[in-house]
Symmetry: C2
DNA sequence: TATGATTACCTTACGCGGTAAGGTGACCGA
DNA sequence: TCGGTCACCTTACCGCGTAAGGTAATCATA
């Protein structure tokens, strides 16, 4: 603790923390060098002393999220006795909780051209679990692909209203409803059958915890069956 | 055919066609109003007569891709005799061929806040196939979510090098390789076991036709099993 | 045939974005 | 004491999307 720290000096870490806070609060579009600097009580160009540029800032954001996932997974503790399904399930669900705190993360990750080093380590752990469970490398490799974005705690929905903060509330008149029922008979029937009474606003469009776990288990079941038949 | 068309007039369609061509050639980042206009032999502001703005242009790009998918699916012809699995499989694979022609499309779709109307119609067809096959609306609904991006012909990979045209060729020294083997034992073992000798450059990272079909069949198998047991 | 409206495109200009270049003062080891 | 490094700032540039308004050709109508 400094005696008279008239202002705490900047650092890559402080910049990234502020950036995460800014994006959590106002969305990814609000993240500009000038605005981030202002939030830190500094001029825009000062950020360049700690980060090479905007791209590095975005990469740093992704890095932060993965560190948060890493910490969440670490908090699960040792999982020696568990079977592979439970272990992967816990991992993915832990990651999901992190993503729910940062709805902008999926979209950002998808738009980044580089893969953070942490991700490789993360995947290595998943792969280790699969191999240990008796999967061949070939099947394990395909399993990783099949999982897609589940290891990161979200099911990738193509159009995620959260991305741009768009309003989900679409106003539908009665006439439009009737037209919809005609042109989209199955969808309207499904909505009617499900009613799908709102509730938990989660990640993407309609991506609730239930959907997430359904997909997860569907894949885990299928893989387990493969494992038992083909060794 | 006009007698002396000194210059074919612009139109929303012509603009979108040029935009698709531009993005196919130079990537999504190269799509600016000025550059697109220049390609059409016109000033930037002239585009605004045919499109409200850049967002509408991007929406138009997505729309174009979906129309291409629609056309590809239509070319499959009537599928009356087929079972549901084959029908969905054909649909998804047809969509995939379109996506392979436009590698920028997945990323663009993911970043758009709105859902084109065509998509609803497309999903309605898929849903109809599922219901006809005997699925309940509940399971069919979950199946739609489980499919994720497969109906659009791509498996969503989190980090797609195609998005920003990043170079995949990572140079790895021998020392780095050794360090990797230590920190990522399973991944290096898998790569060694698979060798995975390059070949077909497709959509995302390592997303080859084989991976795509593996995931697809894994989900279809799992759903079929659900269908037989629960109904 | 004259004229006013409409169409399709252009000119100018603004604010905001990232960032290159180069300063400036505080601190620090020699 | 004094050069050097550190941490931050000032200024400026270019490219972006686009608001506001202009203009020439075309067309409908009287």
């Amino acid at each position: 603790m400094r005696a008279k720290a008239s202002r705490e000096p900047l650092s890559r870490e402080r910049v990234l923390t502020a950036a995460v806070a800014l994006v959590d609060a106002d969305g990814i579009a609000a993240l500009t060098m000038r605005r981030l600097a202002a939030n830190l009580g500094v001029e825009a160009m000062s950020l360049y002393y700690h980060l090479p540029g905007k791209d590095a800032l975005l990469d740093g954001l992704v890095e932060s999220v993965f560190q948060e996932i890493g910490a969440a997974v670490a908090r699960l503790g040792p999982q020696d006795g568990m079977d592979w399904r439970t272990r992967l399930r816990q991992r993915f669900l832990a990651a999901r909780e992190v993503m729910l705190r940062h709805p902008w993360a999926p979209g950002l990750m998808g738009s980044r051209p580089t893969i953070p080093a942490d991700v490789y380590a993360y995947y290595d752990g998943i792969l280790g679990t699969l191999i240990e469970a008796g999967f061949s490398y070939r099947i394990a490799h395909r399993a990783l692909h099949a999982f897609g974005s589940l290891p990161f705690g979200f099911a990738q929905e193509i159009f995620s209203p959260t991305a741009a903060g768009g309003n989900l509330e679409v106003e539908v008149t009665e006439a439009e409803m009737a037209a919809m029922a005609e042109s989209l008979p199955h969808l309207t029937a499904m909505v009617a059958a499900e009613i799908h009474d709102a509730g938990d606003p989660t990640l993407g469009w309609c991506d609730s915890q239930v959907e997430f776990e359904f997909t997860l288990d569907l894949l885990l079941d299928g893989l387990d069956r493969l494992r038992r038949t083909s060794v």
